[in-house]
Amino acid sequence: MTRLATFLLACLLAFGGLGSVAAAHEQKLGDLVLHHAWSRANPAGAKSGAVFVTIENTGDTPDQLLGASSDVAAMTEVHQMSMENDVMTMKPAGILDIPAHGTVELKPHGLHIMLMGLKQRFAEGDTFAVTLTFAKAGSVTLQVVVDKVDAMSGDH
């Protein structure tokens, strides 16, 4: 009985510990649900970073992501990365349509919130704030969770 209790406690601690860093989290804003905003730990002296998040529109009307801002960087923009042959290209994505009952994924090697002129270095487990502004739903401040330097999905 004591051993079982110890085991259960160990499980609780283990999963509790993991959860505090990497568990998927979501935030709501009107009809929008923002799923698990995350970023990566970055190398020393890195001047840029990227934030990823899945934007779900549960409403009957389309919305638009107008822009992003953050105190952690001198400039924050929504960017699109693409690969053509083996050439990586990155440029501002402009205004992003969020269709009614649709989902837009910001993920590695695709759309992302680009942080330029980083003012701080992120380590795994850190959190920081990024504000997204939508045409209809208004603004929401995301709590961005920092994952490993080579994380690809933000969940483990």
Binding site: A44, E84, N85, D86, T89, H112, G117, D150
Partner: protein
């Protein structure tokens, strides 16, 4: 779409196809005709001059990128770090090289700080814009400035070019290759002794 962009794209496609073809054929005559890689005179992270002679005796892995890059470059450098660890004793036969294609921002000191987050065996190189352009051209690597002002970005090829211990072209690896796969490919290349 202007004509210059079309031309640049065509050159990039041709270069990629050329590297691919020589890799598939794995034929020395073909690779010599294509002559991927060449002599260079660049600057190391301590400000010292580095030439291709520093790479003779090892399989060198060239990746061209820039420290302002948020995605492909840290991923590739992290892969290099993991690969060196996984190669075991064969790691001594391999020299990863990160060449900046953004010398305006990537000074030796910037490069040194950035690379301190990765395996210390990775060599960082920068240089004059002319020397970088020449080196990239000889490796058939495409890059171009994207945007203006302080926070411009760079488009760039993400292929990893492998040179053998005689500093001859030995193959190309995808920049987004997983570490375990890269270890297998490198062990193959080393075993073949190309």
């Amino acid at each position: 779409m202007n004509r210059r962009a079309l031309l640049v794209t065509a050159v990039a496609v041709a270069a990629a196809a050329g590297i691919g073809a020589s890799y598939v054929l794995n034929n020395k005559q073909v690779t010599q005709t294509l002559s991927v890689g060449g002599p260079f005179k660049l600057i190391g992270t301590d400000g010292q001059e580095v030439t291709e002679s520093a790479l003779k005796g090892k399989y060198s892995l060239f990746f061209f990128g820039f420290t302002f890059c948020p995605d492909a470059c840290p991923t590739a450098l992290n892969t290099f770090s993991l690969v060196l660890g996984k190669l075991g004793p064969d790691a001594d036969k391999v020299q990863p090289v990160f060449v900046s294609i953004d010398p305006a921002r990537d000074t030796p000191a910037v490069l040194k700080e950035y690379l301190s987050s990765f395996d210390p065996r990775i060599m960082g190189l920068t240089g004059t814009p002319e020397a970088i352009a020449e080196t990239a051209k000889s490796f058939r690597v495409y890059y171009a400035k994207q945007g203006e002002g302080e926070f411009y970005l760079m488009d760039h090829s993400t292929a990893i070019i492998v040179m053998n211990p005689d500093y001859e072209y030995a193959g190309v690896l995808a920049g987004n290759m997983q570490p375990d796969e890269m270890v297998v490919r490198l062990k193959e290349i080393i075993a073949q002794g190309v």
